[in-house]
């Protein structure tokens, strides 16, 4: 019974941390694609552990990591479910928020494909493939609509 109470307490703490993250940080980022990039950037490349100093101070590094992981999965799930049209719109919002020259942005994104590293760990391979494919096509559609020259 004590263990159940402890688990319930931990769960509510993760939920609180998640709500805090949404309220203080994610709500200030415009668009789900930008949120996905931000959340993926809080994950260490080598250990796949999430870290956010403010959240870790308010809760604990473990709780903060769980909240970040939860948010990452949720935002990713929303983007995988989004239609290609909405995804292209999200991607355009993100591109404009970077204030990068569109031609440079598309060149970099199509060459480096940074969207490959934003997939949460343990995502089903079919969902990951669908996301990567959709982002590639959304980039191509945006690029052709902006009448940018092809690099190929």
């Amino acid at each position: 019974m004590a263990a159940t109470m402890f688990n319930a307490l931990r769960l509510s703490t993760v939920e609180e941390a998640y709500a805090d993250l949404r309220h203080r940080t994610l709500s200030k980022i415009q668009g789900n694609f930008a949120r996905l990039i931000y959340l993926a950037s809080t994950r260490d490349y080598n250990s796949a552990r999430y870290f956010h100093s403010g959240l870790a101070d308010r809760f604990s590094p473990e709780i903060a990591a769980k909240a970040l992981e939860l948010a990452h999965r949720e935002v990713f799930r929303e983007l995988v479910s989004a239609s290609l049209e909405n995804l292209a719109h999200e991607l355009e919002l993100y591109m404009r928020s970077t204030r990068e020259n569109p031609a440079d942005f598309f060149r970099a994104w199509q060459a480096v494909e940074p969207f490959r590293v934003v997939v949460p760990v343990d995502t089903h391979p079919t969902s990951a493939a669908l996301f990567i494919s959709n982002v590639s096509f959304a980039l191509e559609v945006l690029r052709s609509n902006l009448k940018l020259p092809q690099d190929h």
Binding site: R77, V80, S81, S83, L84, E85, A88, E113, R116, D122, H124, P125, T126, S127, A128, A129, L130, I132, S133, N134, S136, F137, E140, V141, S144, N145
Partner: protein, 195 residues
């Protein structure tokens, strides 16, 4: 042999040949080529853990792959070349999913049969029901793969949903045999009931 028996035998023979052709049609490495069309040599890593992934593919992903909304958007917004590339890519992703489901279900059934062979709780009627559901599932997978090869994934959402439903029924039936299949194996194959 009567004429009716001969016709039935011929129908079964034709079905068997069709299944064999479909399985042979399944090119080795076809799954890995799915994203390679656009994503270069690094793409196969997306599928690298296909045999051992830990969860069932989300329903919304399947609905998305087999829906027509994205194709309609691509038709309106892009060139003929891009539309062809998109159709090819979606077909490969869909085929990868179908063959993954086909293989996983086959694995779970092989494991189940090995486990229950010597079980004292063996029920012939339950086993027969399970085999019927398994054969229905595999037939639906083959039909879906054939339809994908011929037409593409858009407008096949109902058939894909039927595969998912039968899959859950097989999962529920396998789970009803206590201790027949370890929990982790049913999880890895996605063969779990919704309960």
């Amino acid at each position: 042999m009567s004429e009716a028996t001969a016709i039935v035998a011929l129908v079964f023979l034709a079905l068997g040949l069709l299944c064999a052709l479909l399985v042979l049609w399944r090119q080795p490495g076809a799954a890995n080529s799915a994203a390679a069309i656009h994503h270069g040599p690094a793409a196969p890593r997306v599928f690298s853990s296909a045999a051992g992934h830990s969860r069932e593919c989300p329903t919304e992903t399947i609905e998305h792959i087999f829906g027509s909304q994205d194709l309609d958007f691509i038709r309106c917004k892009s060139s003929h070349r891009l539309r062809r590339a998109f159709e090819r890519d979606r077909r490969q992703i869909a085929l990868h999913w179908v063959w993954g489901v086909f293989d996983e279900t086959q694995q779970i059934m092989s494991h189940h049969f090995r486990s229950v062979r010597s079980s004292p709780d063996l029920s012939i009627s339950l086993e027969a029901k399970l085999v019927a559901e398994f054969l229905l599932h595999q037939s639906l997978c083959l039909a879906l793969a054939a339809a994908l090869r011929l037409a593409g994934p858009d407008n096949l959402a109902r058939l894909a949903a039927a595969v998912g439903n039968v899959r859950r029924q097989v999962g529920a039936a396998v789970e009803s045999f206590p201790g027949a299949v370890p929990e982790d194996l049913t999880k890895s194959s996605g063969l779990q009931s919704n309960s």
